[in-house]
């Protein structure tokens, strides 16, 4: 346990020393927020008709932007884990009498905290831009809980990808998936407005129920069964990422 705390401290130091990563995980979502609200917002507002609770497009948008924030955070983690692997420091840790899990636990806990801070900052900027969420504290707790679960899921996947990739370039497919999937979901427009295969895909991919649930929780509208589907997806992805990462970490580090 104390080894995991040491590793966590190491990761916090890395984050503070490398503010670029934090700026990216907050900055990119904020840029997207500004872009979609300022540039496309008017047109999309017309297209969507009124949002369920009658607010502006930004109310619709924030849930998807939060998901992307979590995605960027996971990408950062994948890069950090990969750097540890390629720089050889993980080999050093492996030859020491320390808990093997502590290396990965440190990354996951550090990343989760960092991502939740980023998400908080993004929500703050959104409120400044006119986002008007509900004031219900129970729904906020549920929102934070789902965000944390989603972060855990994507971070474990990121850790596994970071371990699996031979070089930093090997991470880009993961980055691409995490950045493109939101566009093919209910993040920016309702899947109902899409056509054919894209519509079917957007309705069934994991990010759509997660975004719908986050949106419903924050705006105080009904969540329906997307809440259960969202939690099942998150737990499933988290377990997959965890098992994959564990298997990779136990493997002989010979390439």
């Amino acid at each position: 346990m104390s080894d995991a705390v040491t590793m966590l401290r190491r990761n916090v130091k890395h984050t503070l020393r490398n503010p670029g990563a934090l700026i990216m995980t907050v900055g990119l979502p904020v840029v997207l927020l500004l872009l979609f609200v300022g540039v496309f917002g008017g047109a999309l507002n017309t297209g969507l008709g009124a949002t369920p609770h009658g607010g502006g497009y930004i109310d619709y948008l924030v849930a998807g932007i939060l998901l992307m924030t979590v995605g960027y955070g996971a990408t950062t983690t994948a890069m950090a884990v990969n750097r540890d692997m390629t720089e050889g420091i993980i080999s050093r840790f492996r030859t020491m009498a320390i808990s093997r899990a502590s290396v990965l636990t440190g990354h996951v806990v550090g990343s989760t905290v960092r991502t939740l801070v980023s998400a908080g900052l993004v929500i703050g900027v959104a409120i400044l831009l006119g986002f008007r969420p509900t004031g219900d504290p129970v729904r906020w707790l549920a929102t934070i809980g789902l965000l944390a679960l989603l972060t855990l899921a994507l971070t474990w996947l990121g850790v596994a990808v970071g371990l699996a990739a031979r070089t930093a370039e090997g991470i880009s497919p993961f980055t691409l998936i995490v950045q493109v999937l939101p566009f093919l979901s209910s993040a920016f427009v309702s899947p109902d407005s899409m056509s054919g295969v894209v519509r079917w895909f957007a309705a069934h991919e994991p990010f759509t129920p997660i975004i719908d649930t986050l949106r419903g929780l924050m705006l105080g509208t009904s969540v329906d069964d997307s809440g259960v589907i969202a939690v099942v997806w998150c737990v499933g992805l988290a377990v997959t990422g965890y098992l994959w990462a564990r298997a990779l970490f136990r493997r002989d580090p010979i390439r």
Partner: protein, 319 residues
């Protein structure tokens, strides 16, 4: 250094390891006594790093037995890990931390406690001449400084067996001398050193015993002296002004190889001062003037050629 009969720090019998169908270690036997320096010598791809990775619990092996610091490597890896320190070929330092933070990180992982950990870090920074750069990021360090930091990190936990995998590869001559000095001090302090190197000179400088690894097999084990004696590569080269002197010298010295075109003789020799003096005395007594004299000591190529029948560069293995 203690001369009392000591126990084995590393004992290996019949160690085998393959990657796919490529056999990397093909039945290795090693015995390293406590408090001595043992050097595994061989070219790139000979299996040196694989041997270190197995003995330091980093990877598994396919057959044989290995004990390090009294513990079975495959059955009690954590006990082995608690006793060893490893400094690999590529410095495993955390680039985003300062030198001091890297050492404190190691101290924390060894559960030294805050005050003790800082004291140990400061002590090692001093000893390895890194105190001035203690608060700079490791990414700004030079190659020699990184190796020293790497080794300092290895020493935080007071290991009794230290694995050094090509500790001076890629270092400039001065940094190499510094590393050698540090390694000698460690041995004087009683630790056991397992060193891999491509340089015969390095093994010669540091090791009590040397094993030569070639294509996964040990082709020779012994002291540096024993190995060099078994190698015919050492000789003194003499160049003369004209064919008459060359002929006279060849007659006076006897067992030599003669090259009439370049007017040179090659005299087998270990290149030591006594041997040189004796050689020059003989030439002086015969009143033969020598234009030029050069000493050739055996190098790794000679060792390999002598022991395996092929030079080192012919066996670079593509992984």
């Amino acid at each position: 250094m203690t001369n009392a009969p000591s126990r084995s720090a590393i004992a290996v019998t019949g160690l085998r390891k393959s990657f796919g169908d490529k056999v990397v270690l093909d039945g290795i036997d090693l015995d390293v006594r406590e408090g001595t320096t043992f050097s595994l010598l061989g070219p790139n791809g000979a299996g040196k790093t694989t041997a270190v990775q197995i003995l330091s619990t980093l990877i598994g092996f396919d057959g044989g037995q290995a004990r390090v610091a009294g513990h079975d490597v495959s059955r009690e890896p954590d006990a082995v890990r608690a006793a060893i320190g490893v400094t690999g070929q590529f410095s495993a330092v955390d680039n985003l931390l300062t030198g001091e933070e890297n050492l404190v990180l190691m101290a924390d992982l060894h559960h030294l406690g805050r005050a003790d950990g800082r004291r140990r870090a400061a002590e090692l920074l001093d000893r390895f001449d890194l105190a001035e750069s203690a608060t700079k990021l490791a990414s700004t360090y030079s190659g020699g400084m990184r190796r020293r930091l790497d080794l300092a990190m290895t020493l935080v936990g007071d290991p009794s067996v230290i694995f050094l995998d090509e500790p001076t590869t890629g270092l400039d001559p001065r940094s190499r001398r510094t590393m050698w000095q540090i390694i000698r001090e460690l041995v004087a302090g009683g630790v056991t050193i397992f060193l891999t190197t491509q340089y015969l000179e390095e093994a010669d400088e540091l090791a009590d015993r040397i094993a030569v690894l070639d294509q996964g097999k040990l082709v020779a084990v012994g002291t540096a002296e024993e190995l060099k004696r078994s190698i015919p590569g050492g000789h003194v080269r003499l160049r003369f002004g004209d064919a008459a002197r060359l002929g006279a010298a060849a007659a006076a010295l006897g067992d030599v190889s003669r090259d009439d075109e370049t007017l040179t003789l090659q005299v087998p020799s270990d290149g030591g001062v006594l041997a040189l003096r004796a050689l020059l005395d003989r030439l002086e007594r015969a009143a033969i003037e020598v234009d030029e004299l050069s000493v050739h000591t055996p190098d790794l190529d000679d060792v390999f050629f002598a022991l395996t029948g092929h030079p080192t560069d012919a066996k670079e293995v593509v992984r």
